[in-house]
Symmetry: C2
DNA sequence: GCGAAAGCTGACCACATGGTCAAGAATCAA
DNA sequence: TTGATTCTTGACCATGTGGTCAGCTTTCGC
């Protein structure tokens, strides 16, 4: 019996880890730029500084490599999705939502574009994720938004369209980076730009949905631990 | 000398026009789905119901076909860009802007995705359009928005980010159609859905930017012809 | 220092790619 | 009917594709 029985992603020698990192990074760039079909293992290998055979050795196949990148991106996404409850302050939640989504676009532009490219192509690999896991998540959030509306904390807007509004307007700065840069005449967006945009989006969404502050509750334990 | 000297796009026999239409329609679908590199002439030809050689006969090359599709899409875009002036009602202009942008997503989803795919890939064919023509258009609009803000007709938001907000949130329903359908559980968005979304986006933008009505001017000729 | 496991890679394969071309078929103005 | 123009298309080409494999080197636990 071999020493290592599982082919778990977690383990692996230092060499393996280093090469896989290089391949994944290169592949994310290339897939994001050219889509699944348009990307070539040759180009990925060159950008990773390895021969093509080596890429196949570590990743098995183009398909497996692509799926692995998608899964990694979904993990980053999920890491953002902390729970909320109707007791929370809508303004704070929406603000945090927009901010964290914006940071993903900022920190993982290639991953964001990879995801966009997958959806653009009809989501052949992500269909069940979209209509399963993600759908459930959206529905549960939507319920909270509706509860807020019922309590008079915000206008009775359809939560689904609101979520899409936040997704699209934040995702835009990764996916359409080339357009944003071309039009603004810059060669990159600064951190200050991003902060300005985040504030703008937050302001428009919160004001546009008529979000009001909840009546403060003195006995709220969260408020006590907060300060 | 040949009877027809110019190779203008406008003319052409009935056969040519019919075949070109079929090819362009098929190519728009395939390019939108797989990107420039990922699309194959073979697939385009099959979807158009013609042999591959015939596609080359009419279009010359893959590159020319792609560029022609992009230009057609830019024409549709430009058709929307009617002039505005600081004298106009901000609410009406923004509302019309969102509505017409939404209709393009609705009427030309493949074209919208083709455009998105081009930008996603770094806009190799559209860079000068973005930083030239389109940039000028955005700047002139931005000037009007700023004038409105100066006159106290709306909050002093940065017009550029506002334009991007409108673009992204409307474009979303074409580009991320697969995601929208997966999450909403539908197999298509109805006209009523689109109308609801348009109203929602208009409401949020106008309210979110604090747009107010201008003081009515009795001697406004436009108002007179209107009713 | 040994032996097994892991890592490496050029040669190679079947197939798909964009594009060319020549020769025939259909169309159309006169 | 004729002659020119347009249209059609299968055969073909050089190149690139994802993937396999055998044989090599390196690494590493003991």
């Amino acid at each position: 019996m071999a020493k290592v029985d599982n082919i778990s992603e977690q383990e692996g020698g230092a060499i393996r880890r280093r090469n896989e990192r290089a391949i994944l990074a290169a592949a994310e760039r290339v897939f994001a730029r050219h889509g699944y079909r348009g990307a070539s293992l040759q180009e990925i290998a060159e950008q990773a500084g390895l021969p093509k055979s080596n890429v196949l050795y570590y990743m098995g196949s183009k398909r497996k490599l692509y799926v692995r990148l998608l899964e990694r991106m979904m993990e980053r996404w999920n890491a953002m999705l902390d729970d909320i409850s109707p007791e929370d302050d809508p303004a704070e939640v929406l603000s945090a939502f927009i901010r964290s989504k914006m940071q993903i676009s900022r920190r993982h532009p290639e991953g964001s574009r990879l995801f966009a490219s997958e959806i653009l192509g009809g989501a052949p690999f992500l269909q069940e994720y979209l209509s399963g896991e993600l759908r459930d998540w959206v529905q549960s959030r939507a319920a909270v938004f509706r509860e807020w509306a019922d309590r008079g904390l915000m206008d009775p807007v359809d939560p689904i369209w609101l979520i899409f509004l936040i997704w699209s307007s934040t995702q835009h700065y990764a996916d359409f980076e080339a357009q944003v840069l071309g039009i603004t005449g810059r060669d990159a967006l600064s951190d200050e730009d991003l902060e300005k945009i985040t504030e703008f989006l937050t302001r428009v969404v919160i004001k546009g949905c008529g979000v009001r502050h909840p009546a403060p509750r003195a006995e709220d334990p969260a408020t006590l631990t907060e300060r």
